[in-house]
Assembly symmetry: C2
Homo-oligomer: 553 residues x 2
């Protein structure tokens, strides 16, 4: 097409795409209708709709140049359907129990479309208006959930321009980073001789206050985002000190005290102690009250990473598990985890609404001094109005609705743990405290043996079991009927030998006992096919003198 002709034809077509919606009977209209009517059925029964290796999918996404010519929406939608949607992961499936994504309440879908269509930018009032008070309201409600201040506290601070009860962000990683940023800037604050770390930088701050280094202390089960935050903030990953966990994956407070003393003795300063309320891998909760005590003793900032477990506070029956969280200076909660909101709804809450002054920033054209623009206290700049979806979830489900979901998830995890324990050929590695547990497949004979095995025997058997667990997890994922994830732990019952385990997160309200039985059955069947791995385990057991039978059942 000649350039003039193109411009002429396209001018009209372009204005059309900004003014005329897709017809209901267009391809996109039909897909949307199908999706709206049956989200679960949309991706079919399988986790990954078709078994297809990644490199084949990559071939469809291999063009390095932006296409020159426009394309019909319907053609493009067909392409997406066949090449993207068909090979997406059905994270809402009740058989997808490997990660923290779960089914979404239906009403959030049209609301999400509304949110995207409104296209508000929460960085400033001028592009959000009512969305700003709404976001401050959501932060207030979540702050109350954690800190339970009285109503006058919230009337005073919730909508105050110079203060924030927290900061919304895309996810727990940015939330944790924001918390440690605040902690760092509060510690190395301005004084008469020093303009503060925000202005002068970290090296100047350390020199001024006479600290050789700053450290952040967290259990060895802490989330990897803390290491990333330590890197970004200039603290350094080696100064994120991993404290050993006990047999229940909770931080050992005696070890923490010891490590803090060493840091101080060495000329360093403990910037922050991070409690984990729901470890990513095992769902366990640190003893938060004890951590608060230690933080007070050593003068450290106390942050709680409750990205996963924070929603437990919505259940009166289980909120006691997080006792002490109200003593934290800051708390991370991800609404896109156990609050059933779509991806992108993280937040950090601050006990003291003036803490955010440590990271306050302004510009001439937005977030001016005295404005209520939320952007003055966030790590991110332009941000969508995700707070609306949290607000809606809280109102439509109510605290009691969430309580039911949380209680059921925990009950489901306990039920699955019992189910696993009853099997001859599976064992629970970490019991659930919330709705996460880990387990593995162990051939019947090995299950009998391993509980009394010596450290040396465990050391020699474990790598074979690890290979088997890896094999099963990968094969199950590829087959795509169900999905569990895997991780590597150092269980105390096995002399802290690095042990690969299946990890399941049982937050999807649609996951039934029958489905969990099927997950185990499928894993058992895959294990039966792993002839060479089982053979190697067999040989090892014979060499250890643990096996005299010919075959390993």
């Amino acid at each position: 097409m000649s350039d003039n002709k193109f411009a002429e034809v396209s001018q009209e077509a372009l204005l059309k795409i900004f003014t005329i919606p897709e017809a209901p009977d267009s391809t996109l209209g039909r897909i949307e209708k199908h999706l709206s009517e049956n989200l679960m059925g949309f991706l079919g029964e399988r986790i990954v709709a078709r078994e297809k290796p990644l490199h084949e999918i990559e071939q469809k996404f291999n063009a390095s140049q932006i296409p020159e010519e426009p394309r019909y929406v319907s053609d493009h939608t067909e392409f997406l359907l066949n090449n993207l949607v068909a090979h997406s992961v059905n994270t809402a499936s009740p058989r997808f129990i490997g990660h923290m994504t779960s089914a979404l309440p239906y009403f959030l879908l049209p609301l999400a479309k509304l949110m995207v269509g409104l296209n508000q930018n929460l960085v400033k009032i001028e592009t959000s208006k009512a969305f700003t008070p709404l976001e401050r309201n959501v932060l207030g409600m979540l702050h109350h959930l954690v800190y339970q201040q009285d109503d006058s506290f919230y009337q005073h601070w919730m909508h105050s321009a110079q203060h924030s009860l927290g900061a919304m962000c895309s996810g727990g990683t940015v939330a944790n980073m924001t918390a440690l940023w605040v902690a760092r800037n509060l510690l190395l604050k301005p004084d008469e001789q020093f303009a503060g770390i925000a202005a002068e930088g970290l090296a100047a701050g350390l020199a001024h206050y006479g600290y050789r280094r700053l450290t952040v202390m967290v259990s060895e089960r802490g989330h990897y985002s803390l290491g990333k935050a330590a890197d970004v903030l200039g603290i350094g990953r080696r100064n994120l000190i991993a404290i050993p966990a006990d047999e229940h994956n909770r931080i050992r407070v005696d070890e923490l005290r010891k490590a803090c003393a060493e840091v101080v003795a060495d000329g360093g300063h403990v910037l922050a102690i991070v409690g984990v309320a729901g470890t990513t891998e095992t769902g366990h909760i640190d003893p938060l009250n004890e951590l608060a005590d230690v933080a007070e003793e050593v003068g450290a900032f106390f942050h709680v990473d409750a990205a996963w477990g924070g929603a437990t506070l919505l259940s009166k029956n289980h909120r006691h598990l997080l006792a002490g969280i109200e003593r934290a200076d800051s708390v991370t909660i991800d609404a896109h985890k156990q609050m059933y909101v779509p991806m992108g709804a993280g937040m950090v809450l601050f006990k003291d609404p003036s803490m955010v002054r440590a990271i306050e920033h302004h510009a001439e054209y937005i977030i001016r001094h005295g404005s209520k623009d939320l952007g003055a206290h966030t790590l991110e700049g332009s941000r969508p109005g995700m707070a609306m979806l949290i607000y809606s979830a809280l109102h439509v489900m109510g605290r009691r609705g969430f309580e039911l979901l949380i209680d059921q998830s925990i009950a489901r995890a306990q039920m699955f743990a019992s189910l696993i324990a009853e099997q001859d050929d599976f064992e629970v590695i970490t019991e659930p405290e919330l709705c996460i547990l880990t387990y593995r497949f162990v051939p019947t004979r090995v299950k009998q043996l391993i509980q009394d095995a010596t450290p040396e025997q465990v050391r020699r058997i474990t790598p074979h079991l690890n290979a088997l667990t890896r094999f099963i997890q990968k094969r199950q994922r590829e087959t795509g009927r169900s999905f569990v994830s895997r991780t590597k732990l150092t269980p105390s019952q096995y002399y802290r030998e690095p042990t690969v385990v299946f990890r399941v997160v049982l937050a999807n309200p649609l996951t039934t006992k029958e489905m969990l039985v099927e997950v185990l059955q499928e894993q058992r069947e895959i294990a039966a096919q792993a002839m060479s791995l089982r053979g190697a385990l067999h040989t090892e057991l014979r060499e250890l003198g643990l096996l005299r039978d010919a075959a390993l059942r």
Copy 2:
């Protein structure tokens, strides 16, 4: 309701919200239909649907406690409609020309709903599968747009596990921060005696390499996110050195060279030089080739913040304005700005796909070594599949479609600049290079006077004009028929006197000349009402001996 009864009733209701979509004739169904059919009409003609002060809106968002009981979706939706949507900002309106949000192409709305419903998490393949190759493809296409490597380059790197052509993120702020994070970690890299800054921290890195401080150099028109990045990364805001801009708001390269020399003479090191390709306030582009030269001379990382202007590369007619961008080590582009994608679609591109190794991180349960998980090279963790919307926009509109949009936006800005210049009582302060320009209202008599005024006269008149501009901008925003933003510049034609200006961004394809005429007329009418401000200006002019008439027209 008793607890047992509640549990019983709610159990069923809860499962329902996860399995049964809203009926098309429900309140939410009707709202969605209305929105789908007429996004523009949805918010009505006004920018802010009703004139209502913020504190009144805040009263609707004042509850500090999460509601106990669940609520009907329809009731909640009515509440949202009346209290949130009605007081949102119609950022898609062709009369909303104050910020970078514009109309959205319609087809992106159902696609966004699809994206939210799929709820993929791009941090790892296990929760995204085909979305991961798709995102890598989008990064590849944008990388090609900037760097124009040949096809074999992209075949080699686009889907390589240990490499990334860039990183998607929520927005330009995180993109700029990621770029400087990479730059910082590359400079203070590991060697035989040093484990690298990522491990050891910034102070140790500076000490090891013998730098007294690191600085980042950017024009005084640089985005405020760079200051935030300097704070977060531990560099310090004072070490973000603002270089004066010339009369066209472009960095003065002679001043930059001088400032770099001073940093080095003082024992510091220039970490990065940041070129701005489309300043936020005036839309001007730094001389990128010259900046690349300086960066080479001083051994600095060269980053280009093209969050706003990067999309200009899609136009063959205007891409020359960004000549030299291909020499940048990294480039920030926001697809939610001039690429017409909804909020939350930022990215940074890296010239060398192995640069991201400087920020690589892993965990046991995801982003394992050798996996293709995108999370290994991003500042954020869990992230939604926004790349899909960019991919779709690129394919449906095509490069030539974008070219038309970009070309028209620039033409529209030039047209508006001429229109303003023709008025007796308005003046252009910064001419458009892309589709941003600034201007202000000046009473006719003042417009005649001020161009020949002495520095002292300008110094005394400007505050009065500033107050008038502020008044008009606020009043216009509150009235809600149209919206321009405002900022403060230091125009060289007015002896760098701090000058408040209207700022307009003319990217909305639906904005017509008639609308722009109306914007000026409305501003003129508001100015006529500002009696006391005009009175004060009048008095000032008389005192300066510049006015002998009785009244100021």
